[in-house]
Amino acid sequence: MCLSTLAKIAAVAACMALAPVAAAAQTYPSKPIKLIVPAPPGGAIDILARLVGERLAVSMGQPVIVENKPGASNNLGTDLIAKSAPDGYTIGIVGGSHNIAKFLFKDLPWDPEKSFEPIVYTHVVPLVFGVYPGIPAKTLPELVAWLKANPDKAKVATSGRGSAQEMAAEMFQMTSGAKLVMVPYKGSSQAHPDLLAGRTALYIDTISAIKGHVKSGAVRAVAVSTAKRSAALPDVPTAAEQGLTGYDANTNGGILAPAGTPKPIIARLNAEINAILKMPDIAAKLEGAGIEVQGGSPEDYAALIKSDLVKWGKVVKEAGIEPE
C-alpha cells in the first residue's frame, strides 16, 4: 500500500522532470478523455458523440466522458474546447455552425481554423427542399417559377440567424433569382406545423428532421441540397441536377482538439475514430437518422473547413447579413 503510493509519487515526480509532451504521447491515454459537445443533448452531434464516445472508450482503454456545454449558438462550448489544455484529454465535436459563426458574431473569442487542430471529418447531413403539397410545383424549376409568380406567397421558413437552413435559403435566393420572404423559427420542430398547414411555402431543412414528413406525404421533397443524392431519399434529385448549377449546401461536422495538441495524439485519435465510423452498426444507426458518416485524414477535415469558410463567407456577404 505504502510502497505503491510512494511509487506513484515517484512516477509523478519523474513525469514532471522529463519532457512532458514526449512522455505524455507515449503513455496516452492515461486518464479519462473529455469529449465536449457544444450543443444541448439530442441533436446530430450529440448522438454522434455518444455513439462514437462509447466505442472510443473501448479502443482507447480509458473512459470517454461526453459533456454537453450548450449556449450562445454553440459558441460557448466551442470556446471551451479552444481554451482547453492541448494534451489530448479534451476534444470536442462541432456542427455546421462552426464554419458560419465567424461571419455572424463580431467578437468571437475563437477562430474556426487557428484555434483548433482538426482530428477527423465525421459526418454530413444533407438538406431537403420541403414544399407544402398544396403548391403545384413538383420540380425545382417549377418551384422557382411558382415563387416568382406568387411573390406574396413566397414565404420560406428558416431556423434563425446563422442556421444552415437560413444559409441554404439565402443561397437559393441568390442562385434562383426568386425574391423570398424569410420567416425565422427557433428550429425544425417549431417550423414544421406552419409548413404542414401551408402558412409557409418552403423549408430547406435537414434530411433527418424532415424525412418523416416527406415519407408521410405531408411535405413534398423537390430537391436535395448536396452535390450528390442522399441515400436516405434516393429518388429525390439534387438541386444542381435540376439546373441550379453549383448549388451545394449542407450541415457538416467533425471532431477536433485545441490548437497545439501533439501530432502523434491527433494521429492516434484519427485512426481510432476512423475505425469506429467504419463499423457497420454505427454507420447504419446514423444513416437511419439521416446523418451520413464521413472519415479521412486530419488534413481532409482542415481543407473542408477552409472551403466551407469561403463558401459561407460569400453567402453572408451577398445576403447583406451584418455581424452582431
Binding site: P40, P41, G42, D46, I47, R50, L51, E54, E67, N68, K69, P70, G71, A72, S73, N75, L76, D79, L104, D107, P109, D152, K155, G160, R161, G162, V181, V183, P184, Y185, K186, S189, Q190, H192, P193, D194, L196, A197, R199, T200, S208, K211, G212, H213, K215, S216, A218, K285, G288, A289, G290, E324
Partner: protein
Amino acid sequence: MDILTNLAIGFSTALSLTNLAYCFVGVFLGTAVGVLPGLGVPATVAMLLPATFALPPVSALIMLAGIFYGAQYGGSTTSILVNLPGETSSVITALDGHQMARQGKAGRALATAAIASFFAGTVCTLLMAMFAPPLGAMALEFGPAEYFSLMVLGLVASIVLASGSILHALGMVVIGLLLGLVGTDVNSGAQRYSLGIAELTDGINFVVIAMGMFGLGEIVANLETADTRELMIKKVSGLWPTREDWRRIRAPILRGTLLGSVLGLLPGGGAALASFGAYALEKKVSRNRAEFGHGAIEGVAAPEAANNAGAQMSFVPMLTLGIPSNPVMALMIGAMVIQGIQPGPGVMTEQPTLFWGVVVSMWIGNLMLLVLNLPLIGLWVKMISVPYHLLYPTILVFCAIGVFSLSNTTFDVQLMVLFGLVGYVLKKLGCEPAPMLLGFILGPMMEEYLRRALLLSMGDPTTLITSPISAVMLALAAILLVLVLLPSFGSTRREAFQDE
C-alpha cells in the same frame, strides 16, 4: 375503427412482462428526476437515448414516455414539500400545495396531486383511444396569430394568480415579460440585454429564476421568523384526503382535466398554460376563492389534473403528425426515426401495436405512479419533519446542483443567487413571484408569434381578428380583463385602508 379492438391490442402489448418492466423503469426514473429539482427531463432522456437504440421500438418509447410523465409527478412532490418548483407547472402547485404542507396537510396535498393526475391520465387515455386523429388535426389549425391571442388570454389570466394587489401583479408580469426578452432575438439574431456575457445569449433559464425566487427566497424568509428548531410543517393531520376534501376536489379535477386536454393538443406552448389556466379558472369560479394562496385544496387538484392532462395530450400531435410539443418529444421522435419508424399519420395504421401499446402504457404507467407515490407520501412527510436547521442546507445543496446541471455552468448558480436577492426584496414590497414567472415564460413566445404572424400576413395586423379562433380568444381576454379590473379599483382601496 373499433376502440375495443385497439385497446385490446394496446393492453396485450403494454402488459407484456418486458414492457411492464420498461414502463416501471421509466416512471421510477422519471419520479426520481422530477423530485430532484432542476435536473432536466430532456437531459435524462438524451442520456438514455443511445441505450434505447438496442431495445424494441415499443419498449423504448414506453420507457421514455414513462420518464416524461413520471417527472411531472415527481416535480409536484418537491414543490409541495419544500416550495421548490423545478418546472413551469409546479410553480402553480407550490402556491397552495406548500401552504397546505405548512399547515400539516402535506399528506393530503400529495395524495390529492396523485389522485388528480391519475384521473386526468385515465380520461386522456380514453380520449386518445377514441379521437386521436381528429384531435391531432386540430393542432395545425393554430398558427402564429392564434397562438399570440392564446398567450394574451393566458397573460390576462395570470393577473388572477396574484393573491395581493392587482397593480403589483401587473407590474410583475411586465417585469417577467422583459426578462424573457434577454438573449438572442429569433427574428433578427440580435443580442438583447446580454451585456456581453456569452452565457446570457441564450436567455435566462426558467429554473434559475424559480430556484432563486422560490427556493432561496423561501429559505431566507423562513430563517427570519425566529426559531429554526421548530419544524417547517405543523403536526401532520392525516395522510389521506378527508370526506370534505373529496367533495371539494371533484369538480376542480374535472375542469382541470378538460382544460388541460384541450391546451395539451397545441404543440406551440399550450401545455405550458395548462396549470396556470386551470388555477386561474378555479380562483374565479370556486366558492372557496378566499382560501386560494393560503392552502386551498382546489388550488392543488385543478392544476395537477390540468398539467397531467396537458402532458399526456401533447403526445397526440407527436404520434399523429410527427410534431413534437417540447424538447423531450423531439428526442422521442429522434428515437423513433433511428428505429426506422416515421412518426406521422401512418403510425396508427402501420404500427398499431406501437401506437396503442404506448397509449395504453401511459395509463398503466399512471397507475404505477399512483401505487408508487401513495405509499411514498408517509416517507416524504417524515423526511420534511426533521428540524428546519438541518433541512434547509440540504435543500440549498439540491438547488445549487440542480441549477448547475441545467447547462453545466456555474454562471447559472450565481444568477440564481441574484434572483434570490431580487425575489426577497420584491417579496418584502408585496410583489409576488408567480405572475412574473408566467410573464417570463409567455413573453418571448408572445413576441415571436406576433412578429411571425405579421411577417406571414405581410405586415397586416388584421390577421389577428380575421382568424375566428384568434378573434374569439382576444374577445375573451378583453372580457376577462374588464372583469378582473372593475372590482379591483374599489376593493384595493378598501383593503389598503383596512390595514391597522
